[in-house]
């Protein structure tokens, strides 16, 4: 797989957009404009962008509570996302869902999820529907290392194998599930081994290397499309920020955080494309600048968008 200038630009654009979006979301949260809590994926951009870059536009994803990156990588409009974080009517969920529940059904994002492992069983159904309707699509189901321990993960693995479904499970191993140190207990390679146990390929990949992620996901997608069934991929990465806005982050070594900062996926990719003479410094700066501009536009849009009308509070629970 050759890295073209166009692809390099696209991957970098998405990663920069996600970073800028989440830094702004964090700021807006601190200013009291975003309610509840948010979970940012700063440092994990290569995992979402690399994976989703292997999809066609009509493929599907299922996302997690840490889902801004998945959403943007799948092509969501930052304006509608920011408006959702601000709880506005113009947001993806009309202000009903918030950060943890962003869904862009038309764009193939079947939803972030507030329940750890909540998407894994649903992926079975998405895979089934694709197969029953004889479509040539696939679904990427993202989940965290924390979901590995949960029954939902194991039941789903059995079913996708049994029905030979076009489902790719992507575990983003960012080493921690809140304070639980998955990374101390099991390496990504060890987690990947469970794929073999259930009867599917299990592959661990450097989750901060966007091209490496893209490559293994592309191979899994190709297998799924040609009827060769599901795969399990573990992207080895790191949650650089606290779990959420309510986490004091008292359980990990600051040195460890620093070490991972040095492995920043965006810096790494920038270095690669400049070393290979694919993009100039100026082109890279332009990309970062564009990301900042669209996030600033999104913020303004979200600030100015109207609140949901109180009279509509009971609408939408049931289909008519």
């Amino acid at each position: 797989m050759k890295l073209t200038k166009k692809l390099a630009k696209n991957l970098l654009k998405k990663m920069c957009l996600i970073r800028a979006f989440e830094e702004q979301a964090d700021k807006s949260y601190m200013e009291g404009k975003v309610h509840g809590t948010i979970h940012v994926s700063i440092g994990q951009e290569a995992s979402s962008v690399g994976s989703i870059s292997a999809l066609n536009p009509d493929d599907y994803i299922l996302s997690t509570h840490r889902g801004h990156g998945h959403s943007l990588a799948k092509g969501a409009d930052p304006k509608l996302m920011m408006a959702e974080l601000f709880g506005k009517e113009a947001g993806y969920c009309h202000g009903r869902g918030g950060s943890m529940h962003i869904a862009d059904i038309a764009g193939g994002n079947l939803g972030a999820n507030g329940v750890v492992g909540g998407g894994n069983p649903m992926a079975v159904g998405v895979g089934l529907a694709i197969k029953m309707r004889k479509q040539n699509q696939v679904v990427l189901c993202f989940f965290g290392d924390g979901a590995f321990a949960n029954g939902a993960f194991h039941e789903s693995m059995q079913l996708v194998v049994r029905f030979e479904l076009p489902v790719i499970y992507i575990c983003e191993n960012n080493q921690y599930a809140m304070s639980f140190p998955t990374g101390d207990e099991k390496t990504s390679e060890q987690l990947a081994e469970s794929g073999e146990y259930y009867g599917m390929p299990g592959i661990a990949v450097d989750g901060n290397d966007v091209l490496a992620v893209r490559k293994v996901v592309q191979e899994a997608v190709d297998r799924a499309r040609t009827g060769d069934g599901p795969s399990l991929i573990i992207t080895d990465t790191y949650r650089r920020k606290a779990h959420s806005r309510s986490d004091r982050d008292a359980y990990r070594d600051k040195k460890e955080v620093k070490e991972w900062e040095a492995k920043d996926p965006i810096l790494r990719f920038k270095k690669l494309v400049t070393d290979d003479d694919l993009l100039t410094e100026e082109e890279i700066d332009n990309i970062a600048q564009q990301a900042n501009t669209s996030v600033e536009e999104a913020r303004l849009f979200a600030e100015e968008a109207p609140e949901p009308a109180l009279e509509t509070i009971e609408d939408g629970v049931y289909a008519p």
Binding site: G87, R96, G98, M100, G114, M178, A250, I313
Partner: protein
């Protein structure tokens, strides 16, 4: 007794610490209850105090956590399981509903399950649809389970100690917005018997039966209503099961008017049970007006701040309903 002001979450913690100090069979199990201190800091410092043998930090395994409590309780341990948000009791409910609740009866009384499952319910912190539910009435419906819902720091401590010492599975429902509430709590250990309601304020014009956060809101409403000459009696059942029906019946006989306030969705909520208790009791004949239920709307909790606020009863809603009710006639 030496009494001082502490917060609700500190009262919950103190109950656990004091019980653990005098009963070695008690242990805690749950997600992020160790170094993290629990998602709401309820178990803060307990790992340092009791160590990993008695503070069992787990991966994300709600059914496993609950099962660990059930099984160990059958062998006379006294586990306290923490489920981080009440929404996730959905995942724990197999072990709780099919196993814990049934074991004593189904095995002919040959085994008991002395466990507590602690969990925070409620909206008001922007948790949106999957982190804000109040599901207590599901468990009220299950014979074999007890359901406790403290509304003050004092009650939180006394009821938790009673729950730990109880030989049955107890679902102990905390409220996220109450965690920081301060109140007078004795330093010494004490219990509040499960099945005893508390009259939080006396009054003759109207009875309000409220649970959890709605007790505080009803008391605030009662204060405003008193300024308008309406004397409200506020009753907190404190335990939904067993339910102290007598205190509620006597109050309704006295006031002739009943307003029930809870946060959970109205349809099939605990208010329906209180309504039925009164309808079936001698108090029915004393009613001067139809019973009114003020509860959460029949919608998932929305994210938007304003919608979230209006999804469940607030002080002004209680004042308004109470004013209507004192004027109403059968």
């Amino acid at each position: 007794m030496t009494t001082r002001e502490i917060r609700y979450l500190e009262a919950v913690r103190e109950a656990m610490i004091q019980e653990m100090e005098q009963d070695e069979t008690i242990f805690l199990i749950g997600e992020d209850i160790g170094a993290y201190g629990g998602a709401f800091q309820v178990t803060h410092g307990m790992m340092e105090k009791f160590g990993p043998e008695r503070i069992l930090d787990t991966p994300i395994t709600e059914m496993g956590i609950t099962g660990a409590a059930v099984g160990s309780a059958m062998l006379s341990m006294r586990p306290i399981a923490e489920i981080m948000f009440m929404d996730f009791v959905t995942l724990a409910s197999e072990q709780l509903v099919n196993q814990a609740a049934k074991i004593r009866f189904m095995f002919g009384g040959n085994a008991t399950v002395p466990m507590v499952l602690r969990t925070p319910a409620g909206s008001g912190v922007g948790g949106s649809a999957q982190h804000s539910q109040s599901l207590e009435n599901w468990f009220v419906h299950i014979p074999g389970l007890k359901v406790v819902m403290p509304s003050t720091p004092y009650d939180a401590k006394g009821l938790l100690i009673a729950s730990i010492r109880d030989d049955n599975p107890v679902v102990y429902v905390e409220h996220k917005l109450l965690y920081k509430m301060k109140g007078a709590v004795p330093e010494e250990s004490y219990t509040i018997p499960l099945g005893s309601a508390d009259v939080k304020r006396e009054g003759r014009d109207l009875t309000i039966v409220a649970t959890s956060i709605m007790v505080k809101r009803s008391l605030d409403a009662a204060e405003q209503l008193a300024a308008e000459g309406i004397e409200v009696e506020v009753i907190d059942p404190r335990t939904l099961k067993p339910l102290d029906t007598e205190t509620i019946i006597q109050s309704v006989i006295k006031s002739g008017r009943l307003l029930i306030v809870h946060e959970a969705a109205k349809t099939g909520g605990f208010g329906s049970e209180i309504c039925s208790v009164i309808a079936e009791s001698e108090a029915f004949g004393y009613l001067d007006a139809p019973i009114v239920r003020l509860a959460g709307r029949d919608i998932p909790i929305p994210y938007n701040r304003n919608l979230e606020y209006h999804a469940v009863p607030q002080v002004e809603d209680i004042v308004e309903k109470a004013c209507d009710l004192v004027k109403a006639r059968i």
